[in-house]
């Protein structure tokens, strides 16, 4: 974690110089690249999560990256494999066992999440040698991202985005109205399984940067913000990607200049945007109401 540094670099208001200095470190350049990739994929997947109201499943899939990473460390294999194996496996478990209605599903999802997190704790307890405890896995670190990791991230995200582009239209249809979509012959259930697997891959990828507890923020908040601003699908998707990228990069800059973790800044910037959007909408509604009273209100008076 960055807090181990004795002194953080100072911000000097010379923007060009600051950025040149920051980008003279290869790890910062890699962090910015990885941050952009992760932000784009999380925002696109998260937009569908918000549309499909699958926030609980998304949160569960994202938290199980923690036991994945811890287990991989315990077994001595690369953490990347642990992330992908467990996230996709949890997505499959939820996708296969669900279908018993709303209550059943939420109890199942909660149990899967708690059990896998407990497994992660067991792995940590057995391994004992993890430097700095589990907090780097849980809350993220952007130090030491290698060029190889960036290329792996890029490869995975290209695959995820390609599959999403392929199934985008039917997925949108089945998310908005599953019954009509099923009636029109769209394979709703298969699409839902594929989507959960994509969600697993995306969270496994993002979890390596933001930490497994905070992936969820990068998925849900930009998408929720975009959907409060505009109701048109294409526009809100683009806006979500833009917001996620902005939050990640601003977070990286802030984390570089301060001793506090990246996850805090990314979530805070994203949440500030959300509050701003909600405030603007409320203001808009208020102004609209005072300016033009509806005929019905007039009549009621």
């Amino acid at each position: 974690m960055l807090s181990a540094d004795p002194a953080s670099p100072a911000w000097s208001w010379d923007l060009v110089g600051d950025f040149r200095l920051m980008w003279s470190y290869p790890f910062m350049v890699n962090a910015f690249r990885a941050g952009a990739i992760v932000a784009v994929v999380s925002a696109v997947v998260g937009w569908f999560v918000v549309l499909r109201r699958q926030t609980f499943a998304a949160h569960t899939v994202s938290t199980v990256a923690f036991p994945g990473a811890a287990g991989a460390v315990l077994l001595g294999v690369g953490a990347v494999y642990g992330y992908f194996t467990l996230c996709v496996a949890a997505a499959l478990v939820i996708a296969v066992l669900r279908g018993g209605g709303d209550r059943e599903e939420s109890a199942l999802t909660g149990t899967v999440q708690a059990f896998l997190l407990a497994c992660g704790f067991l792995f940590i307890a057995l391994y004992k040698g993890l430097l700095g405890g589990p907090q780097a896995i849980l809350f993220g670190t952007f130090l030491g991202i290698t060029a190889h990791q960036v290329s792996v991230l890029l490869g995975v995200s290209v695959v995820v985005l390609a599959v999403l582009a392929l199934i985008g239209r039917p997925l949108l249809f089945s998310s908005v109205d599953p019954q009509v979509a099923a009636g029109r012959g769209v394979p709703v259930r298969a699409l839902s399984v594929v989507f959960l697997v994509l969600l697993g891959a995306a969270t496994a990828e993002a979890g390596q940067i933001t930490g497994t507890l905070l992936v969820f923020a990068l998925m849900v908040i930009p998408a929720a913000t975009a959907r409060t601003v505009t109701a048109r699908p294409a526009a809100s998707l683009a806006l979500a990607v833009l917001l996620a990228c902005a939050a990640t990069w601003l977070g990286l800059v802030a984390a570089y200049y301060s001793p506090y973790p990246l996850g805090f800044f990314v979530t805070s910037f994203a949440f500030a945007g959300y509050l701003l959007a909600l405030g603007l909408r409320a203001l808009h509604g208020l102004l609209g109401r005072t300016r033009v009273p509806l005929p019905a209100e007039e009549a009621a008076r």
Binding site: Q113, F115, A118
Partner: protein
């Protein structure tokens, strides 16, 4: 092995404390969890569990008692969730956005705590996240047991109207049941239960204690009161199994053992043939009994 060594741990004070606190917390969580599952509000509990972490870290960073932060944080956020949603049933996306930011705040506070108070133990964050039931002191045990008793009492008092509201909100409101007040009250009680459970199994794992016994109970029976009792009973048994197993195998953390027991019971209910939910003509024959 567990059975053979089961005689000796009861003479250890730390085990007695863990057993007393664990049992009372398990009963409270079983009762609250049952309604959480019935009302499909498990995601709210998930959010509250993460809020518990931030609350505890805030209290530690500011130098207060950890439990003060736990209870204040969870109950305040639970009431906030109540006001955010229609009829005290908050929207999932709003909950997600709020609690993921609060979790980020927790990450900030844990860094603040570990860097500014370097002499205090650095593992406080881990013990809040994953619990340390064997480290609970006798004074803390008494408070935990009393609070858990209070939660159980409140749950039993509001069980009937709450069940009515859960099953049919509109009819309950028409019959004069204070639906909104009950929704808020229940969320506040759920927050208190989350804060309690954090002391036993940790904020990341308490969801298992809330969801797994309740989910199992609801799979086993369709009758709400029976489910309520079964959920509390299962939670207590799972807590005991976890504590004894963890005592027998010291390498296994107690939180993991409790979660493993809870998950095993829940998974076992998938093997039992599910009672039919389809309404049948005439009297339904007992299935799976």
């Amino acid at each position: 092995m567990t059975f053979l060594s089961a005689g000796s741990p009861l003479s250890q004070p730390f085990f007695q404390h863990a057993l007393l606190a664990g049992t009372s917390i398990a009963v409270a969580c079983g009762l609250v969890g049952c309604f959480l599952v019935l009302r499909a509000q498990v995601f709210s509990a998930d959010a509250l569990s993460h809020v518990a972490f931030t609350g505890a870290m805030a209290a530690l960073a500011l130098g207060y008692d950890l439990r003060l932060g736990l209870f204040t944080g969870t109950i305040a956020i639970a009431l906030l969730f109540g006001t955010l949603g229609r009829e005290a049933r908050p929207d999932d996306v709003v909950i997600g956005s709020v609690f993921s930011w609060i979790l980020g705040l927790g990450a900030f506070l844990i860094t603040l705590y570990t860097t500014s108070r370097s002499t205090t133990d650095g593992s406080a964050g881990v013990s809040v996240l994953f619990g340390s039931v064997f480290g609970i002191s006798s004074a803390h045990t008494a408070t935990a047991a009393l609070l858990a008793g209070g939660i159980c009492l409140v749950m039993l008092l509001i069980a009937r109207p709450l069940l009515f509201t859960t099953v049919d909100e509109a009819v309950a409101a028409a019959r004069g049941v204070p639906v909104r007040l009950l929704g808020h009250g229940f969320l506040a009680v759920a927050g208190a239960a989350a804060a309690e459970a954090t002391q036993a199994v940790g904020s990341l794992l308490l969801l298992g204690l809330l969801a797994a016994p309740a989910g199992a109970a609801i799979r086993l029976t369709d009758r709400p009161y029976r489910a309520l009792a079964l959920s509390a009973g299962l939670a207590v048994l799972e807590m005991w199994a976890g504590l004894f197993a963890s005592y027998a195998i010291p390498k296994m953390p107690p939180s993991f053992a409790v979660m493993a027991a809870a998950t095993a019971v829940y998974a076992a209910t998938f093997l039992v043939r599910r009672p039919t939910t389809r309404p049948r003509v005439g009297t339904a024959p007992p299935v799976g009994a």
